[in-house]
Symmetry: C2
Subunit: 399 residues, 2 copies
């Protein structure tokens, strides 16, 4: 299965248009000054150890830094070569072909790619929620239209009958904080429901959490890992808090599962990039990461607020969107019958790009939705891009 997102990047020069399609962090958030300093520091401090093969679990210094930051034992930390690899390796140890994975919807495309590569039987944790479902980070509309039928959490219907329908469930996959693509955050209550279900089914929860450090408003919600440390594999990423050009992430989880991941990772790539791990270690332990994070969050908060105000200004009646408290995305729901896939070629030819929301649903439904990214687009392109998108949507509504 190809990624429709990556296919867009492959075929189109997005620099020429207003693109809300990608999921890249803003280059302005990269700690370039620190990176002029870190490589020399790493060479001086760690010597050729930083250039040699390293431990499969990751270098001890970085594992210790992650353990200290998140308050877990070092023995529960595995460094990964990107959090995408985290998803892949979890699927590999937990799933045989035909086994069932439950996922909330909409969900991360890269996870679906991994699941399909292992021939898992991926099923929605819940069907579409009823309109105006009160849970989840509230979808908002400036005109008080019914909110879109999208939620980061499960419906009661899904929970009640899921065990009977899915005897071979191997794990539950969730993105509780600032979901990609919806931007929504699961409430504590929803997280507890997920944990209860996982305990009932006696299965693992894979908590994909690459955006958790990027909260711009609202209150932090406890991780699912903190609620069920005995059965949760929590995936973190350096891509949004350091730079994605270093392919580094981590898994926090039960030691017996990390032991399986350790063996599996030997076959995958022996060890994560060592030099990059030491740069991340120094970036984190020196306090530079937190200093940079303050700037990063201020940048993204401003961009989110700008995008929401522009949506209010330019979107025609009947269009609603989620209000993300963090992360990189928000999710638009167009009036029933307006098809974001059919509309895509027109949008692209006129100079605006997005990712159709139906790609993030297992059955390709929700064709009237789209994901918009606010982190990567040049800020001055946001207004013309959303104005154009509003006009195109309005044109389709009128037809």
């Amino acid at each position: 299965m190809r990624s429709p997102v990556r296919e867009i990047f492959r075929k189109v020069d997005l620099s020429a248009i207003c693109s809300f399609a990608g999921g890249y962090p803003a280059a302005v958030t990269f700690p370039v000054d620190d990176l002029h300093r870190l490589p020399g520091l790493v060479l001086d401090k760690y010597g050729t150890k930083a250039l040699q093969y390293g431990a499969t679990q990751g270098v001890p210094e970085l594992r210790e830094a992650i353990a200290a930051r998140y308050g877990v034992p070092v023995s529960r930390v595995q460094i990964t070569t990107s959090s995408q690899q985290g998803i892949d390796v979890c699927t590999r140890i937990l799933c045989d072909p035909g086994d069932v994975i439950l996922t909330t919807e909409p969900t991360y495309l890269g996870a679906l790619q991994s699941f399909k590569a292992y021939r898992a039987d991926v099923r929605p944790l819940a069907g579409a929620l009823p309109p105006n479902d009160p849970r989840g980070s509230r979808p908002i509309s400036p005109r008080d239209k019914p909110s879109d039928p999208v939620s980061a959490g499960p419906s009661d219907d899904g929970l009640n009958s899921v065990q009977d329908r899915n005897p071979a469930v191997k794990f539950i996959y969730v993105i509780p904080d600032f979901n990609n693509p919806s931007g929504e955050t699961m409430t504590l209550e929803q997280r507890k429901e997920i944990v209860a279900l996982a305990r009932e089914l006696d299965v693992v929860i894979v908590e994909d959490s690459p955006y958790r450090e990027l909260r711009y408003s609202g209150e932090e919600v406890p991780t699912i890992y903190s609620l069920a440390p005995e059965r949760t594999l929590h995936l973190g990423s350096f891509s949004k808090i350091f730079a994605p050009g270093f392919r580094l992430g981590w898994i926090i989880g039960p030691e017996e599962l990390l032991e399986q991941i350790y063996i599996c990772k030997q076959a995958l790539d022996l060890c994560p990039p060592v030099f990059d791990q030491y740069m991340a270690t120094e970036f984190l332990t020196s306090g530079a990461l937190d200093a940079n994070l303050v700037k990063t969050k201020a940048e993204y908060r401003r961009r989110r607020d700008l995008m929401v105000s522009l949506l209010e200004k330019y979107m025609p009646e009947g269009v609603t969107w989620t209000y993300p408290e963090g992360g990189l995305f928000l999710f638009l729901t167009l009036p029933e019958g307006v098809d974001a896939i059919d509309m895509y070629d027109e949008a692209l030819s006129k100079g605006v790009a997005y990712v159709a929301g139906s790609f993030f649903f297992l059955d390709g439904s929700h064709r009237n939705t789209m994901r918009l990214n606010f982190s990567f687009i040049a800020e001055e392109k946001m207004e013309p891009g959303l104005k154009l998108l509003g006009e195109i949507i309005a044109g389709v509504i009128r037809k």
Copy 2:
């Protein structure tokens, strides 16, 4: 399946003993001076592009540099996050559970780990060769004993009957240059046999070639890729010519296979480390790689020659070994009945480590063999280590 080699590193402080066990490059070969210069150069030249997500196929600049170096079209080059990932991704696109992979023996442990993770049915390409088989890089003995029954190539017996026995063969895995663990190199004739067999079976050849640039004597033999570019996936590595702390390798192969690898790699880790790729690009295109390679090969040539001379001095009668024309290893065969696994605890307690050769055979046979690495051990430990090993072997022979 755990790697017995990595298990050794996990449990024992090898710095305290004379270890011939690992497969690490010598730290002295790492281009530390270049690495004080390269990161700043990369930041100045490529800017934040070097810190962002990159193309799944690898950054164009590095693909072009690899294509130019090896005389292939850029479209036939995929960068991998280590050549271990190259093995893994090839297995993933080519094999379903139960499919047959043919491999020469002894063979690389990390490949066997990947094959088993995908539940492939791995079978030897050939049984043991008869003693004194003239093909392959000649196994030598200072006392003209029969050479060990180990070869990097297939026997005629293997070739003739292999198709009938293996109806579901998906690919042939070979390490033609300076095999890990045997140190041997396949002759042109042997390579042609492999190609003929692959064509007869209509299967792919995975040519694992991480050591090819490290030739210290003898004549270069054409790659299998050059003999059968239509069906060969050639795996290269930066670990031995740059530094393994950057997890970078490449695959050269037919475009239709690379297309499948491209899709698969999206799910594995999205893209190889970008910053490291640009450092490798600059290291390669500036000529620094070739300059460093001259020094690296001189270092390893001296170490190989030293090890061979020490083996001649200290090994008891009945012990033979391969003579590697390159790479990092040579392979010892002890007299029949001397068991390198049984002997291991005694050796370790007395202060010398190796990897038992039987780990590199699918059926755990050849218990009278061992792999010795000459690249990583401190040079001053080579003589005491081999003297000790000779004494231990002599003691077991006398029993």
